[in-house]
Structures are given as C-alpha cells and as structure tokens.
Amino acid sequence: MAQVGTRRLEGVGGIAGARSRPRGRPFRKLDDSRFFPLVLLLPILIFFLIWNVVPLLWLVGLSFYRYDLTSPEPARWLGLDNFTAIYNDAQVWGALGRTLSFMFFSVGLQTVLGVVLGLLFWGSSRMPGRRLALTLLFAPMLLPPIAIGSYWRLIYDPIFGVLNYYAREIFGQRYDFLGSKDYAFPAAVAVDVWMWTPFMILMTLAALASVPKAELEAAEVDRLPWLKRLWYVVLPHGKFILMLGILLRTIDAFKTTDMIFVMTKGGPGVKTELIGLTVWRRGFASFSMGAASALAVIALLIAIAFTSIYLYVLNYRETRGQFR
C-alpha cells in the first residue's frame, strides 16, 4: 500500500468553507436510473415504430398480394407474382432506365457546372451584397418543387413561353419543349440542373472552405501554378465534401417526382416518366396497391443501397481520420 507521508495539517476546508457531508437525496431520481436513456429514446422509438416499421411491414406484406382499391374482392396472396410481373414489365424497366439516365445527366451537369461556378465564387467573400446574391442563387432549390414545375410550364409554354420567343428570335423556330418527344427529357433534365446546380455550388464552396488556409498560403509562397494548387492542395481536402454532394444529389435525383408530376405528368408518352412517378401512378391512378407496393419495395432497396454508400463514404473519412 502506497501510504504517502503523513501530514501535519488537518484539512479545514476550501475557499467556501468545508461542508464535508454532501446533502443526502431523499430518493433516487429517475435520471439516475439505468432506464433513463430509454426514456429519452422512447418518443423516437414510438415514431419509428408507427411511421416506419408499421408501413414498412405493410408495404412488404402487401407486395405479395393482389389488392386493388377499386375492385370489391378481398386481397389475394400472390407470392412473388408481383415481382415477376415487374421483372417482365417493359414499362418499369423503361422507367428505371430513364431514371438512371436522368440521374446521370442531371447530376453530371450539376457537378461540372457547380464546381466551375463554385470556383468562380471562391474569393467573393468581400463582394458587396454577397448575402443577397447567394440568396437569389440558392432560391431555386428551396422553393416548392410543385411551384418550380409550374414556373417552367409557364416558361416552356409553346405559345407564350418566354423561352420559345427567344428560341425563335435566335433559331427562327418554335419548340414545344415539353410536348415534343425529342425535347421533353432534356427539358426536364435542364430544369433539374437549374434547380440543383446551386446545391453543387454550395458544396464546392464548402469543399473549398475545408482547405486549410495555411496550405493555400504555402502554395502561394512556394509559387505553385494554379492547376497544381487545385490538384495538390484543394482536391485532397475538398474531394470528400464534393463526393458527399454528388452522392446526395444522386439519391435525390432518384427521388424526383413532384416536379415532373406537375410539369409533364411523365409525358409525352412515357418520355419523362421516372420511377417515382411510375410507383405513384400504379398506386393512385390504377389503385393496384399490391403491384405498386412491390415496385415501392424495389425503389426502397435501391434507395437504401445509395444511402449505405453515402454513409460508408462518410464513415470511411471519419474512421480514417482524414481531417488532418
């Protein structure tokens, strides 16, 4: 036993005077108990149970049934029939393929444009009215998608649309952007690009802000050329946030429904019908809930896969401690 030397003083107290016995507490409080963490979690668990688990089970269950709201007959067990039907459904495959190319083009364009414009905005911190300019810039992504869809219907309108007028001024020709087979899809992509490029600008600015100031200063003192600075200084720090941005956009592009719904309803034909719209249509246009659920289950799985990738990237960075 390491009894350290005996000491001459009797301890008499601290600055406030000693009161050596703590005041006893008559009863053990709830928050000392080991159930306290559970109490904190209870509300979220209830929400999770009622609004996530129940619908999820419902959804998965329903996907094995034939269940039409319009028909009087009760739900009928189908097994995997709904899924095989989807597998054989060219329309679904078409919508999936269209969604993929929508994601590819719109996210790709947003990224390129966003990075370029973001770099342009780098160093604008002392711009007069910067806050207002950024508000205008970021406005598209924060307005109701429903409203956005309707604006663009107005702008794209073949007769009085402002875009058509200028198209004719320049190309001498009118375009029915949303009504024509050739232009509807690019027109939808264009709206998405307009709406979400500001997001990629935001992410690029965040990525640039994550580059330590000293490293930029060192590159300046070391006289590195512009491109080398981007490559050796900016990219190693910024790529992570940029990656998160791209992933978030990909997940979000997969979900696009409202805006298309208002703008084209998937038309002309199925030219702009994305998977979200297909699910919606199956459920609430033809009221075949079973088939819609099966499709929803598939969409769900794809979304979970995307989210996993996102979180994996996020976690990878945290565990590898790449902050320094």
Binding site: A2, Q3, V4, A18, S20, P22
Partner: protein, 384 residues
Amino acid sequence: MPDSGGAVLEFRGIAKTYGERPLLAGLDLAVPAGDFLVIYGPPASGKSVLLRLLMGLETPTSGQVWLRGVDATPIAAAERNIGYVPQSFALYPHLSVRDNIAYPLQLAGTPKADREAIVRRAATMLKIGELLGKRPDQLSGGQKQRVAIARGIAKETEIFVLDDPLAGLDFKLREQLVDDLKVLQEETRATFVYTTSDPIEALTLADNLAVLVDGRIVEAGEPERLYRSPAHLRTMELVGFPRTNFVPGTLRGADGALRCETPLFVAAMRPESDARQEPGEWSVSVGMRPEDVVLVEERTRSSLAAEWLPFSATVTLREDLGGEEIVYLDAGGTPLTTVIRHHAGQANPDLGQRVDLAVRVSDLLVFDAGSGRRIARGIETSNG
C-alpha cells in the same frame, strides 16, 4: 480492510479495464487531509481515469474509492461533494464568468448573497476580479484557465481535484498559475489532488508525489525523497528535469564484490539488499542525473580523483533556458544530457565539439532492466 488512518480519500485495489485493455491495475493510495497530492506520469498513463474514478464519473472494474472514511464507490458523482477542474476548461459559453464561477454554488442551493461573496473571494484569489462580467469567449487562454479553477474551488467542500489544468498553456502563464495554485492550497488548507505530466510542475506543487506509469503507481512519497533516492527506474527517469541519463550495462557479482560494466565505464557497486550478494549476472540500466554528469577541462582530467569515472562525448545541441543550459551529447551512440549554469562560470563547449565528461561513482544508481527496481548503487569512497 485496512483502516483509512486519517486519510480523507483513499484508493483501495482500484483496477479499471476498458474491454480487454487494462488502464489501471490494482492501485492503492491514501491521501491525508490537507495534502497537495500530485499524480504525475507520462501522457496516457491513466491519470485522468484515476481522477474520473475518484469523481464518480466512472465505476472501477474492481476495488473501492473511500472518501472521508466511508466507502464511496456506490455513491453517485453528484453526492461526492468534490470540487473539480476538468482538463479542458469546459466553461459554459452561454454564462458570464460570474455565473460560471457561481455555478456549483447555484446547483448546491447556496443563498444568492453568500454566492456573490464566495465568487468575489475566488475571483480575487485568482486575480480575475475585473473579468466577472465577461463571457468565456472574450477571455485569453490563461484567463479561461483561471476562471475554470475559480469555478472548481468555489464549492463548499474541502477536497479538490484538478485534472492537468495547465496543459497547453504558455510557459509564462504556467509559471504564474503554478505559484498561485500552491499559495491557494496553503491558504485554504484543503486537500488537492492534481495531475500533470510536467516534471517541474509536479516537483513545485507536490507535498506528495505519486508516479503513475502504465496504470500502476511505481512509487509515491515526498518529491525530494523520490528525487534523491528513487527505488524504481521510472521514478528516476520521470522525476526531475532534464530526464535522467540511462546507460545499459551488465552487473556482475563475484567473490563478494559487484561490478557494473557499461559502454562508458566500469564501476564498483554495492547491492541494495543481501539478495544480490550471491554471484550472478544481471542486465541493468545505470541511471545518472544530468547535473551529475559534469564537463571536465582537458588539463584537469588527469587529476581527477578515483571516485570520478571519465568518458567523452560529442555536443549535439545546446538548449539555452536562460538561467541554465541543457547540453545534449552523444557518447558513442548513447544520448546524454548535462546541465550547465552560466553564472557558475562553467565550461562553454561548442556544437560538434568533443568534450570530456565525468560522473562520480556514488551518484550512479543501478536498476534491474526487467523489473525496473533499484538493485545497486555506486560505492561511496570514504574521502568523497
């Protein structure tokens, strides 16, 4: 169970493991009332965990914490009534300095008038009286630390725990705060338990010093005793600045005499106990304090008495502390340091120069390389 024997707080057989990893291993320590105990050890030696066990913020895997004569292990942190200065300042950013300091009192339900008086007193002691109206983010690092200490001591209790409160502060700030803390403790006569990994801080503050290495207390006692007569290699290494020089060697016992051979010298030793009287051979570490390694002028070298062991080394760096200088040396691959004091008119070697050194046999301490325990020391010659 041993009687607590007037100890105001006591660790009995404390062990703590996180998963598989043992942080503290069977640790006993008793602290008498009014003591300034410094728990001193290298970073990550378990100092903070020990304090957190004392505060009741962690539960020991085994063993007990006794407070004021009762087993406090099952008592919640809130009921232990200990003043606490955590490692990072942890000042509440949304409260003024005054409210930060008054915080423990407010929680304890001290009447408002008394609170103000105690806050004033604490602020005066720590020389932050004029800062009471400010917010933490308006303060410098040293001021924040003073506020954190004031908050820690403004509590109606007689036991205070300070977890390396000066870590990360500027040199000059530490110098002042160390002094103020010592005076504070002597004036209040409260029991202070303090951790640090700075040797000078530990030596300056401690009434008693507990050297903690790898979750074990290797030695505890008054700092001067630990400094002069360390029983363990780690004690000698850590207690004192600059760090002690160690030379690996072999201790040989034959014909009732002990000899220690190192790359630098060969010297006669005497065992610490009879156990080492028998013939044998041990691999050892020979410790010599930097101030005991002295620079010798070439011409006086031959006239050195037999009690001095001469060797030579090359100067690799001279670090000027102002009042004294640390000379870093390389003696055939063994790094060594020595201290020279300018005002004492000592030798003044150049960087890269080969210099002659000597150490007195009686200043050598020999430690078992395996256990780290002291097993022998240099023989004192009668005329020394």
